[in-house]
Amino acid sequence: MKDDYLWDKSGSDAELERLEGLLSVYRHSGETVARSNVIEFPSRVEGVRRQWLLPMAAGVALGAIGISAWTVSNNLSETGLPESAHATMVALPENLPVPPVMQNAPVPEHSTVGRKSVIRSKKARVSTPGTTVASRIRHRKRAGKPLLTRDEAHAYNQLKLALSITGSKLQIVTDSVNGFDEKDTNNK
């Protein structure tokens, strides 16, 4: 192989000419190559600018998820709870002031105090120290006793008192009448 032909194509070289013929198919035609065939690597400056976008987007997404979860959990505590949750109700603190107007006013079945849910009866009551409404309900259910409202208990007690007095006085009448009957029998 002569170096001249390879340098400036002077002279002739059979071997090189044969190779040129074979490779002529792949000769550059001068047209631009389709961009899809070319992988462009971004410049170093552009990569730096776009680098913070992805973490920022991820942070925003996580924040949105956290806020929505917190909002949903708050909404659940305000609305109805399953019955099993009633056992975990917390008593009102002792010093919680109850306005006089509200003491006999009907209150919703569930109300929120801060982030704690408390069951109240239909008439507002102040729970006694050391006891909770839930524990009293459980105690009554365990004892198998019917739940009576304050008015029902009062009416029942009054009825018992009235009936007992009536019965005792009628007994006096009976004894008096029977006593006279016995006297009449003895006199005869």
């Binding site: 009054q158 009235a162 009936l163 006279f180």
Partner: protein, 197 residues
């Protein structure tokens, strides 16, 4: 003219009879306790119980609601099912003859009015005891019972409006944790029974 006068006279008699009948039928079996107001200040112990209207309905529902082992609540509920009111007044005094007997006699006068029938009248010189029982009937249905017991140191008036099973009431008195109140001895003894509440 004479015929007209006879007609009006007969009509007047008929109307008077009709009004009298209506007054008896529509007579309320409730006693007026106003004459006993003075005893409130004089008496050492006063027991006043008024159960009627909504409270009585509530108490009836409670007796049906409570289920005790002996079934006394149910019995009481059945005994008072037709009642319309129960009124009790009991006064106990420190000393003998401390109250005005005229007030009690005025009460008895009410019960001598048409409609009331005296069922029992017991007098005893011991403790100056006077016992009167009156009943009122609307047809065949008892519409009221009144008991007036006056002694030297106590006065008791009981007025029950409506039909009541007296035998059951006397039987149940002292049971079902109803205190058997013996005012004469100034003591209250409770029969041990099931606590309902």
């Amino acid at each position: 003219m004479r015929n007209i006068l006879q007609f009006f006279f007969g009509a007047a008699i008929i109307l008077a009879g009709a009004f009298a009948g209506m007054s008896v039928c529509g007579q309320d079996a409730r006693i007026q306790f106003e004459r006993l107001k003075d005893m409130d200040a004089q008496a050492r112990d006063v027991v006043e119980v008024n159960i009627d209207g909504k409270m009585l309905d509530l108490a009836k529902r409670v007796t049906l609601k409570i289920r005790d082992k002996d079934g006394h609540a149910k019995q009481i509920g059945e005994a008072i099912s037709g009642l319309k009111g129960i009124y009790v007044r009991v006064y106990r005094f420190e000393n003998e003859n401390e109250y005005n007997m005229a007030d009690v006699d005025a009460l008895r006068t009410q019960l001598n009015s048409p409609g009331w029938e005296r069922l029992a009248n017991v007098r005893s010189k011991r403790n100056n005891q006077k016992v009167d029982v009156f009943t009122m009937f609307s047809g065949d249905i008892m519409s009221g019972v009144a008991v007036v017991i006056s002694e030297a140191k106590s006065v008791a008036v009981i007025n029950v409006i409506g039909p009541i099973d007296i035998e059951t009431l006397v039987e149940l008195s002292g049971k079902m944790n109803i205190p058997k109140i013996d005012i004469e001895n100034d003591s209250i003894s409770k029969r041990p029974g099931t606590e309902e509440e």
